[in-house]
Each structure stands twice: as C-alpha cells, then as structure tokens.
Amino acid sequence: MLYRENGQFKTTYAADLQIFPILQDRIAIIALLVLAFAVVPALSSEYFLRAILTPFLILSLAALGLNVLVGYCGQISLGTGAFMAVGAYAAYNFHVRIDGMPLILSLLLGGLMATLVGVLFGIPSLRIKGLYLAVATLAAQFFTDWAFLRINWFTNNSASGSVSVAGLSVLGMPIETPVQKYLLCLSFLAVFGLLTKNLVRGAIGREWMAIRDMDVAAAVIGIRPVYAKLSAFAVSSFIVGVAGALWGFIHLGAWEPAAFSIDRSFQLLFMVIIGGLGSIMGSIFGAAFIVLLPIFLNQVPGWFGLSISTALASHLEFMVFGALIVFFLIVEPHGLARLWSTFKEKLRLWPFPH
C-alpha cells in the first residue's frame, strides 16, 4: 500500500486547504516540476523540445483555459481558435507598434485583449445554452478568421495577411534556443496552472461549477449567472489568448489566421474532453494525448520497418486516432484524468481488492 492517505491526519483546515493534501501527491508534483524544469531540457533533443514539447506545453495551456469554460463552467465553446488568434494578433500589435515593449507584457496584453473579445462573445451564453451555444460560438471563430485576413491594420499592413516576429527576449535574455523557448512555455503553464487551480478550488470556481451543474439552484443560493458565466469566459479567454500569443510568437514565429482555424478549436475541445472536463491535470493529459499520439502513430510503421505509402500511413493514422478516441471514451467517459484517479483509488485499496 504505497499510496494511501490513511494516517495522514490534518489538524487544521489550512492543511486541508492545501492544493495537494496528500503527502505522496505533494512529493510527486515536486518531482514532476524538477523533472520538467531541470531534467527534461537537459536530456531532450532539439527536435523533441521544439517540435513536441513546446507545442504540447502551449496547447496544454490553451486546453487549460478552455477547460475553465467547458469543464468548470459548462459552456461548450467551439471558438477557442478565435480567442487564440485574438491573443496572438493583439500581442503582435503591441509588440511591433510599441517600441521596447517587453515580451511578457505583450503576451499578457494579448491575453487581455482576448479577454475583452471573449467576454463580448460570452454575452450570448446568458441566453443560449448547450449545443446551441457551442455552434453559436463558431460565429466568433469565423468572424476573427475573417477579420484578421481582411483588416490590414491588425497585420501591420502586411500585404498577405501573414505576420511574423523575431528577436524575442525576456528581461534581456534572448528567447531563441529550444531550451529557452521550452522553459518560457513551461513557466507560463506552471504559473497559470497554479493560478487556475487556486481559482477553481475557491469561491469563483464553485460558482462556475454550480452554474454548470444546475443553474437554477445556483441562482437560488445567490450566484449571479451573468457574473459567473462572463468571468469564466474572461478567465478562459485570457489563458487561451496568452496561449495563442505563445503559439504565434514562440512556436510558429510567423503565422496566418489559418494557424488558429476551426480545426484548432476542435483539437482543443478534444483535449479537454479526452483529458477530463473539470480537471487541471486532465487538460495536460489531453494535450499530451492529442499532440503526441499522431506523431507517435506516424512513426510506428517505421519501427517495424514497414514502408507504406505516406497517404496510406496518414489515413491509417486517422483511423487509429479516431478509434482510440472512441475507445478511451468508452473506457472512461470522464476522461483520462478520471481514469488516473480511478487507478489511484485502486492503488489505495491494493493489495486488497475491496
């Protein structure tokens, strides 16, 4: 019985209010952070850092943001790509139009603009619910797709509508090597993960979840749906916006609106559902699953020395990917995070079956 909470008595509520009340969890999370900040960058190849870990971290961040909205507040959104785009383009404008703007500030301001747009598009949620809302959020998606292509001001009058940034630095340190980029994204994820965790286990988080689970009852205990929903939209689009800015600035370097297309929105929704709605870890699991799986599947034939045509390989990859999604949903409709906690529960009982 390696994993158990028996015997860990909490004598104060403050102790129980810690993020990870169980000692083993605390140790695990510290180990994880050390691993992520120190060991991984030292051991990983450039390809791994640049092409896998960095996008994985950024998309985890975006998924985290989306999870606030969908998982905690229960408002399904298919417009995530739009908020990422707003974050990226806004950050871009701050970056190029204001001389000497610090990178971090640009990114955060990008998030702030995304917040504004997010709240604006969140207003319909006060009346429209469920799938209707989900589809209606596509309005945001297509509108921003259009706006960033059509309105030249947003792209600093670049003829083609594509923008790019270069020469990034934080506090005088250049952000150029894969390790630096990785660490920057990781720091963002860690900080936002912590802040979000604080939010969702605090009063505001309870308001979101209350609205999600039963809005009439929530109103009766004095929760204002307007405030709860719009604050969820605000927090969510802030995080998503920052993730969008990172995606543009750090991962791509140059982008066009297609980088934040509807496919991105679906991809993120996938992540939060596969990972687990209403779970911080779930967002990260989900991002790992969705980012890593295709890359992994893509390389499988190679390991077995099979040479199948690229098209066939990629179709098979689609099929396996789709099948695995369905498979995981069947095994655990509440996502990988729930699967993980079930596993922990089993571990708690181990070696006695029940």
Binding site: P333, T342, K346, H354
Partner: protein, 270 residues
C-alpha cells in the same frame, strides 16, 4: 440451484461494482415467487436500487456491472439480455426518480410505455385504465412531463410501466413524493393488479410500514447484504424492524418532535 417451479425470479449471490472500484452489492440473493409481492427494504444507500438495476439490466448506463452470481427469470439466465428483451418477457422496471421523458406530454409518455404492444384497442383500453387509476394524469395529459409536479411525474412513471402490460414489475420507491392518499392508491393498485391479473411485484421501498402491509415477503438489505428476510407479518412483528424501520421503539409511534437526538446506530451494520 434449485429453483422451484413457481419462483419467477431467482437472484443468486450477486456482486455489483460501479466504476470498476465501488463495490456496492456484496452477495445478494433473493427469490420472487410467481404472483406475489416481495418487498426490498433498507436504509439509504443499502443497495436496493442497485439490485433492481442489476435485475433489469440497467446497470450498464450507470457504469456498473454484475461481477459475481447469477440472475434467473423463470429458469433462464438473464444477465446478458438487453432491457428491451426483459420487457418483452414481461419484466418492467419503474425507475427511482421518475425519469419521465421531459419533452413528451404525459399522454405521449404513457403511450411510449406501450411500445412493445401492437394491439391498438388493448392499448387504448389500458390507457383508460391508467387514467382511471390516476385521474390527475388525465387532467394534465397534454402538458409536457417536465412541467408537471413531482407527484404527477411519479404517477406518470408508474402509469407508463403499467402500459406495457407486464407480468412482473420492479417498483423502485413508488411512494416517493406522493400525497398520502395517492400512496394508498398506488398500493391499492399494486394489490389489485396482483390479485386480479396475477402480476408479480418486487418492491423497493422506504415506506416500510406500507410495504410490509401489502407485501407477502420481505428482504432487508443493509450495506449491500441481505441482513434479514421473512414473511411480511413476521417482519412486522420483529422488534428491530419495529424500532428502526417503523419508528415504533417500545411499542408506540414516537412523535418526531421528541425523538432523542443522540445518534443511534443500526445494530446490523456490517
């Protein structure tokens, strides 16, 4: 497994696990004879609903599964049948918590209950019968089920099950949320169907006194185990049952105002 010919339902040491980890039933066995009313009693969370779900095969949707034991209907193993198959064999469950079809009107709800039947005349007659049992439903027949009161929904759920013309009904907390005289009526209906049409009932109830008044036999379930069973009269007289389920410790019914506030524990708790 010796099931005498007049045993309709034979539940044999079943274990149920939810979500792969939560063990809820720890070997429950019970038998329901043809044409009888059997009551399943027990406190909150004892596992009554779970037992009924296991029988009618509705566990899957709750992510539960029967991991041990067997369930036989008239000698046939039924663990792997679909709920629809069971309805075709005459077994219908009235689910706890009503589960009316929210967007359908009361009448449409009742009519879906007759999904497995084809004779229109009989169905129409049956509908009239249900309306006769529950006149309140008739007055609300055109309103969507979601917009009816709790009690009306409960009547609707019971009525809907009766529309299938079942030979055996699994009733889960039929009295919940019903006004006293409707509770009486529901039990009267149960008795009536049981006597006139020889419908067999398995009844999970919290309203122990009512249940024991109408049932022939009772099982008491606590913490996923059958802790006591016997003919209804016997249980009614049992001191423990009296104290814990009928609220009549020491003979008389105590006023709810005067009940001691120190915590009493059920002696059988496993």
């Amino acid at each position: 497994m010796s099931s005498s010919p007049d045993i309709v339902l034979n539940v044999n040491g079943i274990e149920v696990i939810y979500n792969h980890v939560i063990l809820v039933l720890k070997g429950v066995s019970l038998q329901v004879p043809e044409g009888r009313i059997v009551a399943l009693l027990g406190g909150n969370g004892a596992g009554k609903t779970t037992t009924l779900r296991a029988i009618s095969n509705l566990l899957k949707g709750e992510r539960g599964e029967v991991t041990k034991g067997s369930i036989e209907l008239r000698g046939e193993r039924i663990e792997n049948l679909s709920p629809a198959d069971l309805v075709r064999r005459g077994v219908v469950q009235v689910m706890e918590g009503r589960h009316c079809f929210a967007h359908l009107t009361i009448e449409e709800n009742l009519m879906t209950g007759a999904y497995t039947r084809s004779d229109r005349g009989e169905v129409a007659a049956n509908l009239e019968k249900v309306y006769a049992y529950f006149p309140r439903l008739k007055t609300r027949r055109t309103s969507q089920a979601a917009y009816t009161s709790g009690g009306e929904q409960q009547m609707c759920a019971i009525g809907r099950a009766l529309m299938a013309n079942p030979s055996m009904v699994l009733l889960d907390e039929p009295s919940m949320g019903l006004a006293p005289q409707i509770v009486d009526e529901v039990f009267a209906i149960v008795k009536d169907l049981n006597e006139k049409e020889r419908v067999t009932f398995l009844l999970a109830e919290q309203n122990t006194s009512m249940a024991l008044r109408y049932a022939d036999y009772g099982y008491i379930l606590e913490n996923g185990r059958v802790v006591m069973d016997g003919p209804a009269e016997g249980l009614r007289e049992n001191e423990d049952v009296k104290e814990f389920y009928l609220g009549m410790g020491g003979g008389d019914r105590k006023s709810f105002r005067d009940v001691k506030s120190y915590k009493r524990r059920k002696r059988w708790l496993a």
